[in-house]
Symmetry: C2
Subunit: 759 residues, 2 copies
């Protein structure tokens, strides 16, 4: 029988301590047959992944780690890192890279700066004018705010822009297409309005901004304007900067369009010549709501569906006639620029070829306090604290690497380059990639494989939330209960789902998790306002400054300190684990719930299609409408898949679950006498298990478990959306095969584990 | 066996004809055992309430009636009636009354003008200024709109006002309380902000405007400002006048506060002396959104819940500090003014003491095209058409009365006075009260007893909707299916509920239905935008003009003509019915559904209370919130009634249903050979049946079936809301007793009916 330990939350001191290290009580009487048993206060009895003889070590090490985190130092770093423009290619971005490298070196890391080139396009000229009904030049600048001195630095900054916008000079009628997503074009078709040879103006929300011009051009548009509506992040949400945190009237959200491969010299040179990306021809502009207002106010013609009305004090018309014309002129400097990834390595003593990587990018659109330098500052604190542990004689069992990526804002260039240098090595050697990006104060928000849920739950239930004085996990559970009540006011149960949600896209984890299947996690704090999970009130504008972050992002840097604690504990636990803390029973549970969701999605689609048919038969769309506002009838919907058969996948998941259950039993029987022995074989199988869900072929890869969007079993979902029964049969089969392969991998881990167990 | 007739919709001519009179086909083969059987096209086989020998007569009469409706004439009347200000006491309101009287007289009606006095308060002085943070006088005027000449008539109009506002002169801090309903004050308490000795500013929606200052003063406010937010009926909804129909920035919504009895000389004189109503002390102002904007923009302090944010381009703060103060000064002329109800009577040949009354008010806040003179014009057309039938030799069996009420806007003064003169006589003699008020184009919208559903469905399925070319009932069914799909996208059934919804309050039917239990109906057309069922875009403002109505209310007056057709058919059918067309099986069905709803409401309340308790136990309200925006915890909810026992009421309804079913059988067996005989006894019982749901005691009355708000079984609902089990037992008992009395009344009708049936 193993000895068990118990965390005891000290209820009387919790307001004074960020992190709880309670007395460790040896509880030989405690039943330990179920390693996941929690006390009724939800406190772990043991540290998952650690033999009981090592439990005290890791908890002590975390405590020492926390003592080395200094929020005043974080504050100083943030101030320094954000003191000048930090876009890829700027002198200060390079200075920051050099500073980070110097820090890491000083703290005992082996440091390497990866230098490489990428094709980048920054604007030289951007001009917008209203031509009809009257000539009016539109000011695109972001004026300084006197109370925030950083905003007066305008020299050398990238103006509000969509990077990689084609060079162009077009004058055309303007059409408002809401968010510019497929559903909006369907409604536009119902209004019998075309965007062909017109310029569209769309809101910044609802889809990745790169998809907006692509879709607009698919429908024939010759130019695209993407603007920030105040209903999304302006005065409708709260006071604007500098009174409050939200986007001021002239604040522009920058962004990047899709360039198939800015890292490919051959392709890149063609782009330099063409002055536009592969799939895009018309110029694209980013606009503030102050700049968008005269354009939108000049539109006439019909009014779209109700949700097309935004927060400006005007009635939003669709336009599309010669009565409202705009002129756009854009020219950019397309050239190869040098990027700098900083990699600091501390080699593991037991498993030098197993990497635990923590990454944050260092480039920013302008000054980048929220995005990403607050998190970079937290990462520096983590590296410094680990360096301090190292100086006192400790070394990690596995290699710990800190990665400060460049060029994330130009579509994850730094991390992509790094991974693409040697994908096989990265896949084989990286046991954990922990990513960070925007972060502020509020709730803990984490994404990753559900198999990491036990690790995350244990770590987050031992760290105190600065604003409320309860543990991070307790606050999160309360928020989830609150949200559940909001969604469904009379929900019988408010119990929270403690399984991690899968990672989506948009930050540097993407190359690791979606291309390689590396076990990855993304952590942050934030108030997820209105379901916008990465809400940064002055997102990608020149107002994302140190002064703004200090007032609104994280006053006193209490959350950056907490984030450093959390990330540090995660790194230490994975780096020093006797056995990797991945808990695949939770993946089995999650996979079953994904299948249930897909079945529901299919059945909803069938019902929605039937309902659409019935309403069309009743002529209800016409009869319901004010004729002067009738959108025209919508089309029939695809009916989903009749008798969708998920049973092969269900069967494979059941098999996976039973192997995972056997693993849990074997894990609980791990003999501490074997503590000194290496569990290399077991760990290898645990590490690569989810790679069976990726099919790689050179640079191409196909994900079977999670799409870039985070959607589970994406091939099955695609088949449902296309109502393609045959495709669904193949997709279910492919997914089942992958699950079986993962199951076999876990079975091999079990076989290897048996050598270390009592029976 | 009775002969049956069948309406046949002529599908080929329906676009050319407003009203369908198809060939009447004698269908002796048609099974007629179920009188409510419909063909598969939902067309009635017979005219409910008419013996088969009279069916052809009534259909012919309706056809003749329609020929006499002239929309050009309606247009001329509307133009004339709205050519000058029409508030109670204005010279043009009196001229209109005299004109209506003259018309009715000319068309063969006996005309009486009821002259009486009521206490009315109109403003002499209204002053509003922002005092802190800077002095600014607020312009309260509604400027003329050049393209609408009527709006330049400003002399003699009632300015934007809340009539019966107390005289006052106060300067105090301003607090924004959203809609100023109870839930808003609960949220204000959670923000720890009091309105005591402050002036509140609230939106015009969410409750009757008279309740806003009452509630504000209950919480200690010393003044109330009610303003129209653009999110409700301004640019957020659509283009504002004169570009579009919606409220322009300076448009004010007038209204009336509660005066317990402006018709009581003793009480009224006290008010004249006090210069304020019984329950109100502080001044009350009505404001446009242009006038409200500087006040709201000056507020600081916390931000309320998300739904407190309106459509102005500012962040809405709650205020309540000395930093934002306003000064209000109001003085009014409190005096007795003369009102003029015009009553035109055409005496019935068979039942002169049975009255079928059609009423619309003629007073307006300013010019009053939408509210109410469009409907008054339709009513004139109906009276003229009935006069024309009369000139050609026809007279109604029952007495038809047209009533043009005065003083509706000052809280239904004219109709109240009329009813209160002799309530018993009105209750005993009025078999049908058909009310009208605001109306425009769009869907048919009707309220009344569910027992009138068969009548309404038959009439509305024989009249064509001008905009779509299908029958009124078909358009309505399509809209209901569409709405059901919107509410619950995957609802299995989209079948519409064809039972009439009960009448609420706010127009002249109130004294008839809620005080006396007279069978009443309210008809109108309109686009019920955003659930606002009486949506008039420039409601109660000086912009409610003929020009506005002609462009946006009902271009070409096609719907006023349709409304006249509909109302005329309803009047003719009830006036000439052999047997009153009330169908109490439908009331039984409705009552059962009301009980089910109340049971659900109770169970929802129980669940909501449990959920609230659970969230409070989790400390979820605090932990979920950004501490800087935490509202404070809400209080526990009342838990509803444990084991709510509705069985006595269910039993009584079952009894009522079986008597109603017997009535249906007896009705189907009515012998046409008795056509000449009078069904007086039967009709008497049918007419007074719903009066058993009213308990009258002098001027006081208690409604057991429908509250003023339209809520069914209001005493039971009240008990549920109060979670008072004993009260619920009594309320269920009272309701059951009333249902049993109604059941006995219907049984008496059945007994009387047996004399006329085959068996």
């Amino acid at each position: 029988m193993r000895k068990s330990f118990l965390y005891l939350e000290n209820k009387y001191s919790r307001l004074n301590k960020r992190t709880i290290y309670a007395v460790l009580v040896t509880l030989s009487l405690w039943p330990s047959t179920n390693i996941f048993a929690q006390t009724k206060n939800n406190e772990p009895q043991s540290v998952y992944g650690f033999l009981s003889t090592h439990t005290q070590d890791i908890l002590y090490r975390e405590q020492q780690f926390d003592k080395n985190i200094d929020r005043n130092q974080i504050d100083k770093w943030l101030k320094q890192l954000t003191s000048a423009p930090n876009h890829l290619g700027s002198s200060h971005d390079l200075e920051n890279a050099q500073f980070i490298a110097k820090c890491l070196k000083g703290w005992g890391f082996d440091v390497k700066i990866e230098r490489f080139k990428a094709l980048v396009s920054y604007p030289i000229e951007q001009k917008l004018e209203l031509v009809e009904p009257n000539k009016q030049s539109i000011d695109l600048s972001e004026p300084p705010i006197p109370s925030d001195p950083t905003t007066s630095i305008t020299q050398g900054t990238i103006p509000g822009t969509e990077a990689y916008s084609p060079d162009g000079d077009v004058t055309a009628p303007l059409v408002y297409v809401n968010q510019g997503v497929e559903a909006d074009y369907e409604n536009l078709a119902r209004l019998n309005i075309s965007v062909k040879n017109k310029i569209v103006i769309v809101r910044s929300t609802g889809s990745g901004r790169m998809f907006k011009p692509l879709l607009a051009e698919k429908y024939g548009a010759v130019g695209t304007i993407i603007y920030s509506d105040p209903i999304e992040d302006g005065y409708t949400k709260g006071d604007v900067y500098p009174t409050g945190a939200w986007r001021p009237a002239r604040g522009v959200q920058r962004g990047t369009l899709i360039v198939k491969d800015a890292l490919d010299p051959a392709l890149g040179n063609a782009l330099i010549h063409n002055k536009h990306p592969e799939n895009l021809n018309g110029p694209v502009l980013a606009l503030s709501y102050a700049s968008a207002k005269p354009l939108l106010a000049a539109l006439t013609g019909p009014i779209g569906p109700r949700n097309w009305q935004g927060g400006l004090p005007i009635t939003y018309h669709v336009g599309g006639t010669d009565g409202t014309k705009v002129h756009i002129r854009t020219r950019s400097d397309w050239s190869w620029r040098t990027l700098y990834n900083v990699i600091g390595t501390m080699t593991g003593t037991e498993h030098p070829d197993q990497y635990v990587i923590r990454g944050v990018h260092h480039d920013a659109w302008v000054f980048g306090a929220w995005d990403p330098l607050a998190n970079t500052s937290a990462m520096l604190a983590e590296a410094q604290a680990i360096g301090a542990l190292h100086r006192k004689g400790w070394s990690p069992k596995r290699t710990i690497e800190f990665a400060s990526w460049d060029g994330e804002e130009l579509s994850l260039l730094g991390s992509r380059w790094h991974v693409e240098q040697n994908p096989d090595a990265v896949a084989n050697q990286t046991v954990f990639y922990l990513n960070g990006d925007t972060t502020s104060r509020g709730y803990l928000s984490v994404g990753g494989s559900p198999a990491m849920s036990t690790l995350l739950n244990q770590v987050s239930s031992s760290i105190i939330d600065p604003e409320t004085g309860v543990t991070l996990s307790k606050r999160l559970a309360a928020k989830q209960a609150y949200d559940a009540a909001q969604r469904q006011p009379l929900l019988a149960t408010l119990e929270s789902n403690t399984l991690l949600p899968p990672l989506q896209s948009g930050s540097d984890f993407s190359s690791f998790v979606h291309k390689l299947g590396v076990m990855s996690m993304h952590t942050r704090f934030g108030y997820d306002r209105d379901g916008d999970e990465e809400s940064v009130p002055i997102y990608h504008s020149a107002y994302d400054t140190y002064a703004h972050y200090q007032r609104f992002g994280d006053p006193g840097m209490a959350y950056l300190q907490t984030l450093a604690d959390l990330d540090g504990h995660l790194l230490l636990r994975v780096a020093d684990a006797d056995i990797l803390p991945w808990h695949y029973t939770e993946l089995a549970t999650a996979m079953d719930s994904y299948v249930t969701s897909l079945e529901q999605e299919n059945s909803h689609q069938t019902q929605a299609a039937r309902q659409r048919t019935r309403l069309l038969a009743l002529d209800a769309y016409r009869l319901e409408a004010d004729p002067s506002r009738h959108l025209g009838n919508p089309t029939e919907l695809l009916p989903g898949i009749e008798n969708l058969d998920t049973s092969p996948l269900r069967k494979a998941i059941a098999q996976f679950r039973s192997v995972a259950a056997e693993y849990d039993i074997l894990y609980s029987q791990l003999e501490t006498v074997h503590a000194g022995e290496r569990l290399d074989q077991v760990n290898h199988h645990l590490a690569v298990l989810e790679q069976h869900f990726i099919q790689r072929d050179g640079k191409k890869s196909r994900t079977l478990l999670y799409a870039n969007s985070g959607s589970p079993f994406p091939e099955i979902q695609k088949a449902i959306h296309a109502s393609d029964k045959n495709a669904s049969i193949l997709a279910v089969q492919d997914a089942a095969t992958a699950v079986m392969a993962a199951s076999d991998e876990l079975k091999s881990a079990n076989d290897a584990l048996k050598a270390f167990t009592t029976k």
